[in-house]
Structures are given as C-alpha cells and as structure tokens.
C-alpha cells in the first residue's frame, strides 16, 4: 500500500527533514506517526499525498510511483486518498452538506450518487442532522467530523491525517478516534501523525517514531514513549 525506500528530503533551505527512511505499510493497517515537533512527521505525511516530493529514494503509494509520476496524474493519486488536517480546512460559505459534496463535485462524480454518498458519510461521522449548518455554527469536534466525512466520501483506500485532534479537547478527541477506528475496521488504511500520547498509548496500534529525520522506532502495538 505504502512503500518508502531510502527516502530523503532536504528542503531548499538546506534543512534535512528526512533521511534514509524505509517503511512498508500494508492495506488495512492503522499507523501512528509520532515524534517531537520539527522531527519530520509533517514531511513524512505530506509526501504521501505528494504535497512534498522526496529528494531521493523511492515512494510508492497505492501502486503509484509518487516520485516518477507526471504532474497531471497527481489528482488521480489524491482521489484514492483522504486527507485530514489539524485546522479542518472547511469552506466557511458552504454548508456541511455542501462541504462534503464539494469533494465529489470537483472530481465530477455523478450527481445521483452525491445525495446518497454524502448522507451516508454524514451518518458515519454522526452529523446527519446538522447537514444544513455552516462551519461557524459547529464546535471544533463537529468541524473535524465534517472534514473526515469529506475525506472519506470518495471511498479512499488510505486516509492520511495530520494531527487531527491537535485542536480538540481529550473527550472530543476520543469521539474522533472512534470514527477513525470505524473507518479502519471497514478496511481503510489510516496513517495519522499525532502528538497525543494518551491516544497512542491506549489504541495499541503500530507506531512509527521519527526523530531528526530518521525512523528511531517502528513497533506493532506500540506506545507513544520509548519502551525499554
């Protein structure tokens, strides 16, 4: 599903964000990417949806060669991914329904599917009854749930989340994690960068720890901190 071979990323400023990273993530896995700020977590995540390109090495995502692929193929890679950010990134002048439908609209999905798909993902995130609200009328957790709905409405095979609970209180964070668990159980691979020790320790999923641009630990059923 995701394969990184000797991936390095050096920014134009000379900052080395990642060096010689090797990772394999299988279909259906739930993976936490942890590490201190500036360790390279974000770069790792961004490379998966080709927001950043590796400067060296090979990267396969869902069968696409991310490094070699033509610019014009990038949209088609991204249609197989669902991306979620810490700051939700919803469109303030669109309703909940429109925000989710927007993801279908821009890939020119058939309209007859739209109503049904949007309603069904709003069910998944528990916001069916708020479909006419605007983002400003929702709490942070609700907004993130809309973002999740938008990310999964096109049935991606991988969901990539960059600190999705970073702006939320612990209780709300757990609601969000429940949704991720459910999506994962349905077979979707999830890669999530996070700072939330509590979540990582409790979920007992695979943990990839990055420090100074290197993978310092890759552990099944791991925790946030270092274990002897």
């Amino acid at each position: 599903m995701i394969q990184m071979r000797e991936v390095c990323k050096t920014y134009d400023t000379g900052v080395v964000a990642l060096s010689h990273v090797n990772v394999d993530i299988q279909k259906g896995e739930f993976v936490f990417v942890v590490g201190p700020s500036g360790a390279g977590k974000s770069t790792f995540i961004k490379m998966l949806f080709r927001e950043e390109l590796p400067t060296e090495g090979r990267l396969l995502v869902n069968g696409h060669d991310v490094v070699e692929m033509d610019r014009s193929e990038v949209p088609y890679l991204r249609r197989e991914l669902g991306v979620i950010f810490q700051d939700y990134r919803l469109l303030p002048d669109k309703t909940v329904f429109e925000n989710v439908a927007f993801a279908m609209q821009v890939i020119e999905a058939p309209r007859r599917l739209m109503q049904r798909s949007v309603n069904s993902v709003l069910d998944v995130v528990g916001l069916r009854d708020k479909y006419r609200s605007f983002p400003s009328q929702l709490s942070g957790g609700e907004q993130q749930r809309v973002a999740i709905a938008r990310a999964i409405v096109n049935n991606p095979s991988i969901v990539i989340a960059d600190e999705p609970t970073g702006n939320l209180d612990p209780e709300t964070s757990w609601d969000i994690m429940d949704i991720f668990k459910r999506i994962n159980r349905a077979g979707t691979t999830i890669v999530m960068a996070t700072h939330d020790r509590n979540i990582v320790d409790t979920m007992k999923k695979r943990v990839i720890a990055i420090e100074d641009g290197r993978i310092v630990r890759d552990q099944q059923r791991g925790g946030y901190g270092y274990e002897a």
Binding site: R71, S72, P75, R79, V83, R89, L91, Q105, V106, E108
Partner: protein, 295 residues
C-alpha cells in the same frame, strides 16, 4: 466537460464577478476603451484602403489641354488619342462644364467660385477611360508628351499618398494595439489574481481532494473571457454608433466619398472586436493562472 460541471463553472464566474465588482468594472472598462480605440483604427485603416483601391481602379485619365488650342487642333488630338491602344472612350469636357461640375461638387461652399466672377480658371479637358487599370500609367505618360496637352493626371499619386498614410496608420495602429492589449491583459490578470486569492483556500481543498488542474483553471479562464466579452460588446456598441454618426456626417458633406457601407462591414467589425475581447480576457487570466496556480 460535463453539463453539470459547466453549471458549476458558470455559477463560480458570476459569484466572483459580484465579489470583485469594482475590479470587474475596471477590467470591463479598460477592455471597452482599448477595443474602442483599436476599432476606430481598424475602421479608418480599412476605409482608407478601400478609398485607395477605389481610386486605383478608376481607370480614368484627365487630359488638360493648353489654353490656346484651336478647334481643329483639338479634334486632331482627340482622334490621335482615340487611336492609341487601350483607350476606351474619350469625352470632351469644356471649361464651362468643368466649372459647373465643380460648383456642384462644392455644394455649400459654392461661394468660393462666385468670388471669381465671370472668370473661369479651369482648362478644357478630355476625360479618358482606359480598358485596363495597369495601362493607365503608360497611356498617361504618352499622352502628356503630345502637342497641345498641358498635363495628363490620373489617380496614381493620390493613391500612392493614401497607401503611404494607411501604411503609417497600420504601423501606428499595431503599436497602439500592442500597448493597449498589454495594459488590458495586465488589468484582467490582476482581477483574476484577486479571485484566485479570494478562493485560495477553496483551491487548496480542490487540490487535496483530487481536482484536476483544468477543473481548477476553467472558472478563472471563463471569468477572464466573460470580462473581455462584456468589454468587447460595450465597445462594439460604441463603435457602431460612432460609425453611423461618422457616415451620416461624411455623406452629408462629401457624398462621393467611398466609405465602407455600414452593413455588413460593421457586423464584421463587431464580431472581430468581441472575439478580440474574449481572446484578451483569456490571455489575461492565463497569465495570472500560470503564476498563481502552480500545484
């Protein structure tokens, strides 16, 4: 492009025209003014070209006779000219007839002739028509060498002059066109840039969920084309009234002036102006997209 997508694009275009109403207004105004100036040049150049070629195709030579020619000399001269190759008809116009014609042609300004009293400064003349336009020059030169001929005039020097002027106007028009087009493209690309900026979040999301570059570009391109098109329509309307007014003015004073008839000429100009507006609009937005939409 799917129909539904087209609908979406059109909605987006009108949304952003409303949002940037002042900039949109400025763009449309600039396009309209620029295209109007261009259109005036186009109309002038085309008309002068037409005038030049009309004159050129007039296969007429005016042969002015020396003052003191006797009747017999004149008749001999006429038969000599008639015998020349390529001469179609020879018509004698005496000085009185010439004066009457001139007076008619002057119309309101007839008083200029009246000032001369009974004097008639005009010479007797032959009016020749020639079988083919390209014979005019040689025939005129041969006739000019004949005894009793003061001079033989034909449209050529006027034509040359006109061509010189149109050539100059064409160059000037081209330079002006480039400058105006440049300014218009600049204004439009700035307007589109505002739209891109206003919608940058939306664009980022579109990219994350897998919209193609063209899907993202189309609404902006269409916005530019719509701006250019509206500007073009306004300027075409102005040009049509301008030409109608000009034609009315010219026909009332210079009836013989070979002006392009208003139709279908102005319909072509209208189409050309509106199309140029759309092309300029498209180029303008393409500029801003190239710089601001790199994925």
């Amino acid at each position: 492009m799917k129909l539904r997508t087209g609908e979406y694009f059109i909605q987006e275009v009108f949304r952003s025209l409303r949002r940037n109403n002042w900039m949109s207004f400025a763009s449309i105004g600039t396009v309209a003014v620029s295209l109007f100036v261009l259109g005036v040049f186009l109309i002038l150049v085309l008309n002068m070209n037409r005038m030049a070629s009309t004159l050129e195709s007039q296969v007429q030579i005016s042969v002015y006779l020396e003052e003191d020619l006797s009747r017999q000399q004149r008749i001999d001269l006429q038969s000599n000219i008639e015998k020349m190759q390529g001469i179609d008809t020879v018509k004698f116009v005496d000085k009185d007839e010439a004066k009457a014609r001139l007076s008619e042609r002057l119309g309101d300004q007839k008083y200029l002739l009246e000032a001369l009293g009974d004097k008639n400064p005009l010479p007797d003349a032959f009016e020749l028509t020639v079988a083919q336009p390209d014979m005019v020059e040689t025939a005129a030169k041969a006739i000019e060498r004949m005894d009793g001929v003061e001079s033989a005039k034909y449209g050529q020097d006027v034509v040359e002059h006109l061509f010189d002027i149109t050539r100059l106007m064409r160059i000037f028009g081209l330079v002006l066109m480039l400058l105006l087009a440049g300014a218009t493209i600049f204004i439009i690309s700035n307007t589109i840039r505002l739209t891109v900026f206003a919608r940058r979040k939306e664009i980022a999301i579109m990219k994350y969920v897998g919209a193609t570059d063209w899907f993202i570009r189309w609404p902006f391109l269409m916005e530019g084309i719509v701006l250019g098109c509206i500007g073009g329509i306004l300027s075409a309307i102005a040009l049509r009234s301008f030409y109608a007014a000009m034609a009315a003015k010219i026909y009332s004073t210079l009836a013989f002036f070979p002006l392009m008839p208003q139709y279908p000429f102005m319909n072509y100009v209208t189409v050309a102006i509106i199309l140029s507006g759309m092309v300029i609009g498209a180029i303008g937005s393409a500029f801003s997209l190239k710089r601001f939409l790199e994925v």
